[in-house]
Structures are given as C-alpha cells and as structure tokens.
C-alpha cells in the first residue's frame, strides 16, 4: 500500500528468501510439454536472466509466476506467497508480456490513468519522468507508436507500480539497438534504486551479459543451470588441447573434436589444468580460455544428455548437435546467431 513496505536497498544476500521459487513445475499443453518438473529459485534483489531456445518454457514460466497460467502440477512461490492462477492478485509483482499488450486506441497518458486506477501503488511522477526520458509522447495513441515505443510504455507501466518483483518476457525483442540500450539503462536505474528483483527472458544473450547478476538456463522445460552470474563465469572453462589429450577433470559440458584439436567446456570450481598434467601454459597444445557467456549458454543448450559427443568439424560452436537426434542443436544455433547480430 505504501512505499514503506518496499525494501529500500538492493542486493539481499543469497541466503535471503527467494523472490521466486518453483518446485517440480510442470505445464502440459495439448501440443506438448512447456515445463517438465522444473525447479529453481531466484534470490531477492537479483536481476536474473532467463535464457533458452524457443519452446524451452520461458514464457510459460513467467506467465505462471504472474498468475496468468495455471500449471499442470508443481508449486511456485512468489515473494513468499504461493501463486494460484486467477485467485492471486499480483500486488508487488509487475509483469510485461511478450506481446506487450496495450490498448491501441488509448493514449499513453490514458494508460497511466488506467494503471493508476488499477493499482494500490502508483508513482505517476516516476511514470511521467521515465516516459519523457525515454522520449515517448504522452498524448500519442499507443496504436500509432513504434514497437520500441510501445515496449517503453509497457515497461514504464510496470515500473511505476513500484513492484518488488518484475517479470519481463522478452522486453527487448524487436527493438533497435538505440531503443534497447535506452530502455535497459532506464530499467536498471529504477530497479537498482527500488531494490526490485527482476526476472528477464531474452534470446539475445549479449544484452543480458553486462547487466544481469543471475542466470537461469531453460532447456526443454527444465532448468539446466540456475546460479549467480559470478559463479557461472568463474565455474566454466574452455579447454583447448591436442586431439589426443585426455579429457579434463570436472563436469564436461561439451566436447568438440576437430581435425587437430579438441575443445571442452568444463564446469568446475578450479581451473581444470591440473588433471591435464601441468599448470597453466604447460605444453604447447593445452590452453585454458575464459569462455564468453554466449559460449557457456550455448554449451549447456547443446549438451548431450549422454556425455558422448559426435565428432565435428573445426569451429561452429554447437555444431556437434546440429545433425541432431533431438533437434535442440538447430534451435540453439539460431540463438547464437541472434547473439552475434546484436
């Protein structure tokens, strides 16, 4: 009801209550499963990136968390309260849908008036300030705005309710780089001031790289990774060695065999050099590189459930899965492409 209930500072410790926690979340549609026994949590105060190919269940998860979609089974707690679709009123939770639904015939300022009537907490001053900062005309009909401008309106409507949790489904999709940067910067400034937890889904991993401090990778309806971004970076190593070198210790996520060398994505707390028989730089053909976030995500998305990987040509991240038994590799390449384009 008042701003006093909102946490004033950002960055609750990871030991704190999770802002979102799901256990065994399953959503079955007639055309297939969107989520299968999916479990993970996002600690309060984080800016979490939710990544995965189309159909991995990102949107379904966000809609369930927003109380729009009823899960087939499993539980989900949001801000410590269980969510029951249709019954739970989303106070303190903001949601921006993938299609960014707005009333096309209404002007921007009419949307503000409407949102003010529908929410106990509404910061009109913030909304007006944000929209002018984002260069969105208040008197314009929403139907006449560009996709990017509409996204800015949708995110502003969400921010001005001063939510404790924001669920954003592809907020940057189909935005040009200028609008993307502008929106992301404004969003970051507001949420870091309010201490809002954000769960943000995107195809474009490079957009999330510099801003997110938590990463969830969804694949085929399951969370294959869910941890702080720092741990993700510190815990993944790209090992490049001669093709006859033995597998490195630790959790080998992917292995790509080329004509002369082999590349492993290894998940371990320690750099996996020791197991290869030498320290860093030991031997001409053993090298440990720091993978980019793109490479880490793609590795997890192309990982075979069995540890074996088929031989593949040099280069082509994820090509090992492209001739795919499960087709996942094909979709992942699309993601990688989008990341590069961005």
């Amino acid at each position: 009801m008042t701003d006093g209930q909102l946490p004033g500072t950002r960055g609750a410790p990871d030991g704190g209550a999770p802002a979102v926690e799901c256990r065994g979340l399953t959503k079955h549609y007639w055309r297939g499963d969107a989520l299968v026994d999916c479990s993970f949590s996002v600690p309060e105060g984080r800016l979490a990136a939710l990544v995965g190919p189309n159909g991995a269940g990102k949107s379904t998860f966000l809609r369930i968390a927003a109380g729009l979609t009823r899960p087939t089974s499993g539980d989900i707690d949001v801000l410590g309260e269980p969510i029951v679709s249709g019954r739970t009123v989303a106070t303190h939770v903001g949601y921006v849908d993938q299609v960014r639904p707005l009333y096309r015939r209404l002007r921007v300022d009419e949307h503000l008036r409407m949102a003010a009537a529908m929410n106990d907490v509404w910061d009109q001053a913030m909304a007006v300030r944000l929209l002018s900062q984002l260069e969105v005309p208040l008197r314009a009909r929403v139907g006449r705005l560009s996709v990017g401008q509409q996204a800015k309106v949708a995110v502003t409507l969400c921010l001005a309710t001063r939510p404790r949790l924001m669920l954003l489904d592809e907020p940057l999709a189909s935005l040009d780089p200028v609008a993307r940067t502008m929106l992301m910067r404004a969003l970051l400034a507001e949420v870091s001031e309010m201490g809002t937890t954000v769960v943000l889904s995107s195809h474009v991993i490079s957009d999330l790289d510099p801003v997110c401090d938590y990463l969830i990778i969804l694949r085929d309806g399951q969370a294959v990774l869910s941890e702080p971004m720092d741990d993700v970076r510190a815990g993944h190593h790209l090992v490049v060695a001669g093709r006859d070198a033995p597998s490195p210790p630790g959790d080998v996520v992917t292995e790509e065999r080329g004509a002369r060398q082999v590349r492993w994505m290894v998940r371990s707390h320690e750099p996996p050099i020791g197991g290869l028989g030498g320290g860093s730089g030991e031997g001409p053909d053993v090298e440990v590189l720091r993978p980019s976030l793109d490479e880490i995500v793609v590795a997890h998305l192309t990982r075979r459930h069995a540890s074996a990987t088929t031989p593949a040509d040099d280069g082509g991240v994820g090509a090992g899965g492209a001739d795919g038994v499960d087709g996942a590799g094909q979709r992942d390449l699309v993601i990688a492409d989008e990341g590069e384009r961005a």
Binding site: L68, R70, G86, P101, L106, A117, N119, V121
Partner: protein, 320 residues
C-alpha cells in the same frame, strides 16, 4: 474505474446512442406505428431498430468486455495489475450496463408512447409488447451477459458476437412463443356461435368479447365442449373459414358449409354431434400487460445475472 470502463467502451456506446436517437426521431416524426413492418420505410426502420437494438447493443458491448480483451491479449495487462479478474470484469461491465440500460429504457419509453399513440392505448400483442415497457432493458442486459459469456469461452470477437446473438435471438423467440403466454393465467371466453362477420371474428358479438379486442389472442376455434384447448395432437384451426373435409379443431367433421351469405358458419349436421362443440377464444387481456412484462423481464434479468456469474467463474479459471 468508471472512467476506465467508459474509455474502453466509448465508441460502442456512442454508436448505440446514435442508433437510439435515430429510432426516437423516426418514431416521433411518424406518429402512428404500422400494423406490419413494411408499411412505411421510416416506420419500418424504427421497428427494426426497436427490435434489434437491445440484442445488438448488448452483444456488441458484451464481447468487447471479454473476447476483445482476450483476442488482443490486453487481459494479460489487466489481469496482472493490482485487482482481481472478477473485479476487473465488473469494473468494466457495470458502468456500460448502466449506461446502456438507461439508453434502452429511454427508447422503450418513447416506443411505449408511440404504440399507444395508435389510439387504442397500450398494446399487449407480441410486436408492440417486445419494444415497449421494461422488457427491452431486460433483453439488453441478457444479451450483454451472453456476449460476456461467449467472449469468455471464444477468444475471437466476431465468432463470440455471432454465437451470443444467435443465442439471444433464440432465447427471445422461445420465451415469446412458449413461455410468455403462460406468465399470467389465460382467459377463456366461450360462445355457442362463431362470432364471424365478413372477413374476421367480431369479438364484441360474444359476451365479454370486447376485452379480446385489446388483448393478445393466443388461439380460437371450435373445440369439444368442456375443453378450452384443442384435443391432443390437434391444433387451433388456422382460419375462420374451414375448408371442405378439414379437421376442425379436434373433431373430425367431413363437410362444413356456410349457411346464407357467409355471415355465419355452422357446423354441418353430418358432424356426429354438433352440441358437443363450442367456440373458444383464449387470450391475455390488456390488464395482464404488467404481469407479463414483469415475468418476462424477470426471466431475462435472471439470465443476465447467471451468464455474468458463469463468465466470471470461467475467466477466473482460465489459463492464459
């Protein structure tokens, strides 16, 4: 929230208002209502608007409240704000229901005057009844409820609107023909002779018959003595002039001939026992006008509430 409802449905309400004004102008400038729909173009337009407006307005606004939102996904915006789905439904629905009801009530009161201006006072027979009194408001609200309900099941606005309109029209036809005649006790008048002169029955020629002229005639004809309705499996004879070999209301009678110059008909002596037949007219007198109006309005209002309640239940359960 009232502003929100007005803002979202402004266009439809303005269109309804315009049509209502058109109907009002057509009525006030033409004075007398026609006996049939096609007598005069303007009057026909007025009749058409009066019949169609409550259902059309209700359905169009009703589907906007639910189907349009779901079709354009704006319900995903509305349902993730700080109010419940049911409250959102009522917040957008109730103001337009009130405004629409007031508009329809205004029109139907003008129509009531228009019908009475024919000179015979208010009328209880079906066509004038449908457009006067309080039933138009009830039709509007029931159609609104049907539109809301259809929109909570069918996501496509056009399809939902068409389904709701068909359901509303069907409900009106069924209630008008099957239910309304029995909403008040039917009055039976019996006579030993057929009150016929020239082209039609002259009701005043039978005792108490003047009430029939202002009433709603449900059926008349020869039936066996002791009955007020045709025998099972038979219907009211459709014409005052039975044809040869026809089946007169429940009694097989081979030949009926006019006696004299068609001023009266009598049952032919070949009929097994003419004394076993008497002439009956069943009707709802004008004094039952408000009983029928209240009964029918009650049915449609109950329907409206039930449809909206069911829609609210379905929307609450719906999974986006």
């Amino acid at each position: 929230m009232t502003w929100v409802s007005w803002r979202l449905h402004r266009t439809q309400l303005l269109i309804i208002g315009t049509l209502a004004v058109l109907a009002a102008v057509a009525m006030t400038t033409t004075g007398r209502p026609p006996m049939s729909l096609a007598v005069h173009d303007v009057q026909a337009l007025a009749w058409g608007l009066l019949f169609a407006l409550p259902v059309a307005a209700g359905v169009v606004v009703g589907v906007t409240v639910t189907a349009r939102e779901r079709e354009r996904f704006t319900n995903r915006l509305a349902w993730t704000q700080g109010i419940s789905r049911t409250r959102w439904l009522l917040a957008t629905l109730v103001p337009v229901a009130v405004v629409g009801s007031v508009a329809v009530a205004l029109i139907s009161s003008i129509a009531t005057w228009w019908v009475a201006a024919a000179g015979n006072g208010p009328r209880i027979d079906p066509n004038p009844f449908d457009v006067s009194g309080v039933v138009p408001v009830a039709y509007f609200l029931a159609s609104l409820g049907l539109g809301v309900l259809a929109g909570s099941v069918i996501r496509n606005e056009g399809l939902a609107g068409a389904s709701a309109a068909i359901a509303a029209i069907a409900a009106r036809i069924v209630v008008r023909n099957v239910v309304r005649p029995h909403l008040a006790p039917v009055v039976h008048l019996t006579s030993a002779h057929f009150p016929l002169r020239d082209l039609g029955p002259i009701w005043s020629s039978i005792p108490g018959g003047s009430a029939v002229e202002h009433g709603w005639i449900l059926g008349y004809g020869w039936v066996p003595a002791g009955r007020t309705t045709p025998l099972p499996g038979h219907s009211w004879y459709s014409s005052f002039r039975p044809a040869t070999g026809s089946d007169i209301v429940g009694v097989r009678c081979p030949v009926v001939t006019p006696s004299g110059s068609r001023s009266s008909f009598s049952v032919h002596s070949d009929c097994s026992n003419p004394a076993h037949l008497h002439f009956v007219v069943n009707f709802q007198p004008l004094s039952h006008y408000w009983l029928l109006q209240a009964g029918e309005a009650g049915i449609f209002l109950a329907g409206a509430i039930a449809f909206v309640a069911l829609a609210a239940f379905l929307l609450r359960r719906s999974s986006e």
